[in-house]
């Protein structure tokens, strides 16, 4: 069944003010066919070297691709997505579409106290005229367990793909997760993703996300501090150029006492790009001694660029510490002149300053070997800005 166009979120919806979904108005959300050998071969060309020690799993057009993947680790299965239920509201519409159309779910459950290093690639190679890719990931980390997850999103060059990811991650009591997510799809791609992360008592979740691909990219994330004393460090960077739209809505619900969240966002809007980040912090009634800290900054680096950062606090209890800062600004003229006065080209100087602007996000990548690799990848798209700042 194709999704009706009229039900897509619009800019009139509170959490979709900065989204631009016009390109999806005629899109088909039916699942793409299972990828053939040609599609698998095209996807293979996009893979980068695997991080040492990680198990690699690859989905192509939303379907698990055994020929590009390692054997499924213990506790991982390909399952039927039909049991997934999503709230009936506009913010979960794409998750609902995913649940409805996904061909399968990749379901990973780790044992208690077990450690797993997982690299998951979601690659879309088929044009949206044939449908959408609906990667569906369910990951449950056992009590006291440790997950290192590298999640990579890419798409075939010069192909108008449509990806609609859903990621469900649960950390059981005292579990820890270090997550690095990148989205570097082709500039003709459409990328939607919905994340649901549940944190039980005593959990630690460090998540770093870097997005600089796709014509239009939207992250909708719901993080729930369900258990006491859980910790979330969310850091993301979004880089927009041309007419790209990089949009994110991250809702963090502190539903239990002692929950702590640090949210850090740095965005750069070049050219005519639009970059938006909406960080919604909720502290529920009775969730005392919670702590929430937001630092949201965006750099306007194009005359026709747009940037919007919006911290939101919704607090229903008294004993809470919450701070937030949000700024949108341009490149610092004095810094730029300083670099020019040392003989650097204007383009190099600007890219160095842009690099410096997002360097704190790169530095927060909790996995050192991934940090260096991603720093190089990001820097390669910003001439003159090699990642010395994080390698030394």
């Amino acid at each position: 069944m194709s999704q009706s166009v009229s039900s897509l979120p619009s800019t009139r919806d509170e959490n979709w003010k900065y989204a631009s979904l016009r390109a999806l108005s005629n899109a088909r959300f039916d699942a793409l066919p299972t990828p053939d050998e040609g599609a698998i071969a095209r996807a293979a060309t996009l893979l980068t070297p695997r991080p040492d020690g990680f198990v690699r799993l690859v989905l192509v057009d939303g379907c698990f691709a055994p020929s590009l993947s390692d054997p499924l680790p213990r506790g991982a299965v390909r399952s039927n997505p039909s049991r997934i239920e999503t709230p009936d509201d506009v913010d979960h519409l794409f998750a609902t579409l995913n649940a409805r159309h996904a061909r399968e779910a990749l379901h990973v459950t780790t044992d208690r106290e077990a450690a797993l290093q997982l690299e998951i690639w979601c690659i879309s190679v088929s044009a949206q005229t044939d449908g959408a890719a609906h990667p569906l990931l369910r990951i449950e980390v056992g009590a006291g367990g440790q997950l290192d997850l590298v999640e990579r999103h890419a798409s075939a060059p010069d192909t108008p793909t449509l990806t609609n990811l859903a990621l469900y991650l649960t950390l059981a009591r005292d579990a820890q997760a270090r997550i690095v997510r990148t989205q570097a799809c082709d500039l003709r791609a459409q990328h939607q993703e919905t994340l649901q992360i549940d944190l039980q008592s005593g959990t630690r979740c460090e998540l770093v996300q870097i997005t600089d691909g796709a014509a239009h990219a939207r992250t909708t994330a719901f993080v729930r501090h369900i258990g006491r004393e859980s910790r979330l460090r969310w850091a993301s960077a979004a880089l927009g150029r041309g007419t790209q739209v990089q949009d994110a809505y991250v809702h963090v619900d502190h539903a239990a006492p002692g929950a702590r969240t640090e949210q850090f966002f740095r965005g750069i809007a070049n050219d005519r790009a639009r970059v938006a980040f909406n960080g919604h912090m909720k502290v529920a009634r009775g969730a005392t001694d919670c702590n929430s800290d937001q630092s949201l900054k965006c750099l306007l680096a194009g005359n026709d660029a747009e940037a919007d950062v919006r911290p939101q606090l919704e607090i229903h209890t008294d004993a809470v510490q919450a701070s937030h800062g949000a700024t949108v600004g341009k490149l610092d003229d004095t810094m730029k002149f300083y670099l020019l006065s040392r003989g650097l080209d204007p383009e190099v100087a600007e890219n160095l300053l842009k690099w410096a602007f997002i360097a704190d996000v790169i530095a927060r990548i909790p996995l050192p070997q991934i940090r260096t690799q991603l720093a190089r990848e990001v820097a390669s798209r910003m001439p003159g800005a090699p990642p010395f700042g994080v390698e030394s």
Binding site: D332, M335, S341, F388
Partner: protein, 248 residues
């Protein structure tokens, strides 16, 4: 030779330089002194090409090249170095990268090959010893978290690495304790050479106790109102500027 003729400049629509004439021959150190707001820093910025500092009249030639026709990065590659009064902090760009990029930009301009990492570090380490700086500074963000004195040492370190032919040092002595002042002065003196000109902008005589100038100029109301030998600085130290301002 640096040759400035009838230089007028405005900042944000306000005239700050009001007809400066100045010649600094190669091999000489000239000190520019003057009261607050006289245009000393503006002169430094104009020579280095800072945007927003508009030259409305006059000319500046360096080794026969029309400096004002060049954008700031080309002036730097041509050998002009500005030591900032307030060096900016640039977190996320570390010192070693900036130094290497700056050095290679200058070398490329001179038709020289880029230095490799090993060669570069050897050069920098020697200069850091001279400036009594810990090597840990190299991996830190540019001036990030540096004290005022450390920032000034870092400016001189950059100057020593880049070996400019024209050094403009804008109140490099401000905020330095006496030990740091000696180190910075030693760095400046190391750079003195027959083919190099150095312009020291300063408020005080104390820097000139360690870096002996060939000439001293007094800048007031955007013009050079008095020039003389090193003794002029001593006279200013003893008498202040009022006697000159009244006569100007």
């Amino acid at each position: 030779m640096l040759e400035i003729k009838d230089l007028h400049a405005t900042v944000a629509g306000r005239t700050v330089l009001n007809g400066i004439d100045l010649v600094v021959p190669a091999g000489e150190v000239h000190a520019i002194m003057g009261p607050n707001g006289s245009g000393k820093s503006t002169l430094s910025y104009v020579l280095a090409g800072r945007p927003g500092y508009e030259v409305t009249r006059g000319s500046v030639h360096w080794r026969g090249v029309d400096l004002l026709a060049l954008p700031p990065e080309e002036r730097a590659r041509a050998g002009v170095f500005l030591g900032f009064q307030y060096p900016v902090e640039i977190p996320g760009v570390n010192n070693v990268y900036l130094l290497k990029a700056a050095l290679n930009a200058a070398r490329k301009h001179r038709g020289l090959p880029e230095v490799d990492a090993f060669e570069f570090l050897n050069v920098v380490r020697d200069k850091m010893k001279l400036m009594q700086m810990d090597e840990a500074f190299l991996s830190r963000g540019v001036n990030e978290g540096f004290s005022g004195g450390e920032k000034k040492r870092n400016e001189i370190l950059q100057m020593l690495v880049l070996e400019p032919s024209l050094a403009l040092l804008d109140e490099t002595d401000s905020g330095l304790d006496i030990d740091a002042l000696k180190v910075v002065a030693q760095g400046v003196n190391t750079l003195r050479a027959a083919d190099r000109s150095i312009v020291l902008v300063t408020h005080y005589q104390r820097l000139l106790d360690h870096v002996a100038p060939d000439r001293v100029h007094v800048l007031a109301r955007g013009r050079i109102i008095r020039s003389g030998g090193p003794e002029l600085a001593h006279e200013l130290e003893a008498r202040g500027y009022d006697w000159l301002l009244g006569a100007a």
